[in-house]
């Protein structure tokens, strides 16, 4: 029993991620679990908006495509699926997944929806809203508490083959099945810390296997166009080996693991999730062979009493225009173009809350750090925040007007506008958030 190893893979690191590596893992990975992490901070607010327009929507836009691709191999090989593709509507995601399974001729599946993260009503109500919260209640689109591993473990206890959640802390998608398989106590902080480390390393999929790592001549990675996604072989004590499938592109090394260990981490000794305050400060990595790295040494302390809440809120509009200049004098003509647009926006008294005037190729990313460099071409970028869509549209229009009203030789004008759904964070007491599990069997 103590030698038992659970194989858990990651099939997506964001909602638009490539699908073939997940199919490959489902077919050849001898996996017990395949996890898809598809819910960025803002995604759930956008999903909530689509649910408000149609109560049957609000789940991940690629849900049907992903499920259609992976379900045959997952069912044939007994691979259970855990994902936050439920987004703002886990129950509808379960129904759509059941429809996909039926259309593929698959049966005998139990699909669980984990809900209870949506606390929008609680946050809008004046008597229960936390004090000091930034957006006014009428601007709030969504408010979702980060659930932990508990409801995923409970859904597996109820026999689920597929668990679809809304907002759950990303590592908890991995901690849930490991806790279920090894019957860990929810107060076993060391093992939960180690499982959180495994989840944290895997949750961005290709970022552990050589994606987002290559720097030609310094850090070379082979076969990025065929990048394989990671899996972990986890023991009952929480020790693990991370690897990828033979024949796939990419690289699993101590260096790729270290980069991902610190990715989006603040204090490495206090990585806070709803399950545990994990301590990554004494983690060690050991290369065991090609694309095989042993990870151990994470610790943990008691989980926090409050849960983090992401609040999506309306924050006006952003309008943008761009145009290119090339050849000798390009930078001077581009600077003149920016001056003209800035003056135009003042003359038409456009109510801008905030604006930026960038020279792409010169200072748009680094500030004026490298501004002594003379590029062969440069692109102006004017961007501003407005209260209305109409005002946002006028920014790009003023840039386009440079064609006939601006400096010589400008080309390739583009313009765009978008509604801004911003995210603020707050905390709520844990007891205010009650997870629910809804089961669909077919």
């Amino acid at each position: 029993m103590s030698d038992r190893v659970i194989r858990i893979g990651c099939g997506a690191g964001f909602s638009g991620d490539r699908i073939e590596p997940a199919v490959d893992l489902a077919r050849r990975g001898s996996l017990d679990y395949l996890v898809f992490e598809c819910l960025a901070e803002r995604t759930i607010a956008l999903a909530q908006k689509s649910k408000l327009q149609n109560v049957n929507l609000g789940y991940d836009p690629l849900l049907v495509e992903r499920m259609t691709a992976v379900l045959p191999a997952c069912v044939a090989n007994g691979v259970k699926i855990i994902s936050n593709m439920g987004a703002a509507n886990p129950r509808a995601a379960c129904q759509r997944t059941a429809e996909v399974a039926r259309s593929l001729g698959l049966s005998g599946l139990t699909i669980a929806a984990v809900e209870g993260d949506d606390i929008t009503a609680l946050l809008r109500a004046p008597n229960t809203a936390p004090s000091g919260m930034q957006p006014e209640p009428e601007r709030i689109i969504s408010a979702n508490a980060y659930l932990g591993c508990g409801p995923i473990r409970d859904a597996l206890h109820l026999g689920a083959d597929i668990v679809l959640t809304g907002r759950v802390a990303d590592p908890s998608l991995f901690v849930g099945p490991l806790m279920y398989e090894f019957a860990w106590s929810e107060h076993d902080w060391t093992r939960l810390g180690q499982a959180t480390l495994i989840g944290h390393l895997l949750e961005c999929a290709g970022q552990l296997t050589g994606g987002y790592f290559a720097d030609p001549g310094v850090k070379d990675v082979e076969g990025l166009a065929r990048l394989g996604f990671p899996l972990a072989e986890v023991g009952a004590d929480g020790s693990a080996v991370v690897t990828k499938l033979n024949g796939t592109g990419g690289l699993v090394s101590v260096a790729t693991c270290k980069e991902q260990l610190l990715y989006e981490v603040q204090d490495p000794a206090a990585y806070v999730t709803p399950d545990v305050v994990a301590d990554f400060s004494s983690v060690t990595f050991r290369q065991l062979g090609n694309d095989r790295v042993e990870i151990c040494g994470a610790g943990g302390r008691a989980r926090p009493e409050a849960l983090k809440v992401s609040i999506g809120y309306h924050d006006g509009f952003i309008g943008e225009g761009q145009m290119s200049y090339a050849g000798s004098g390009a930078v001077e003509r581009a600077r003149l173009a920016l001056q003209i647009v800035e003056e135009r926006l003042r003359l038409i008294a456009l109510p801008l809350r905030e604006s930026r005037y960038d020279l792409i190729g010169l200072n748009s990313v680094c500030g004026d750090l490298h501004s002594t460099h003379v590029p062969a071409e440069v692109r102006i970028r004017v961007v501003g925040r407005t209260g209305t869509l109409d005002d946002a549209i006028r920014i790009g229009r003023e840039v386009e007007s440079l064609y006939t009203n601006g400096p010589a030789g400008g080309g390739g004008a583009t313009q765009s506008v978008r509604e801004v759904v911003a995210i603020a964070s707050t905390l709520v007491p844990r007891e205010r958030v009650v997870p629910r599990i809804d089961i669909e069997a077919l």
């Binding site: 610190l262 603040q266 604006s355 960038d358």
Partner: protein, 102 residues
Amino acid sequence: MKLRQLAHCRTGDKGDNSNVSVIVYHSQDYLLIEQHLTTERIRAHLHGRVRGEVTRYCLPALGAINFVLHDALTGGVTRSLALDPHGKCISGIILDLELPVP
């Protein structure tokens, strides 16, 4: 000598904070980067981009330092007007830091 010859980097974001890991290729180079990559040096190299504190977490056993740049993302990914709202490109800038040849 540029930091890029000794170390690699990855940038992440959390709200309006950016974090930059600096990881040496060879453990014997760790003390050099710990000595030279002070919070003041990082702040100055980023030319006013960091509006809040710079916090440094040293991980000698891993040969790594994690820098947290507070209030460095002009309001955070969801509302920033910047072309790179995540601040992902900061890692490339950090690797251009000049170090004395040991």
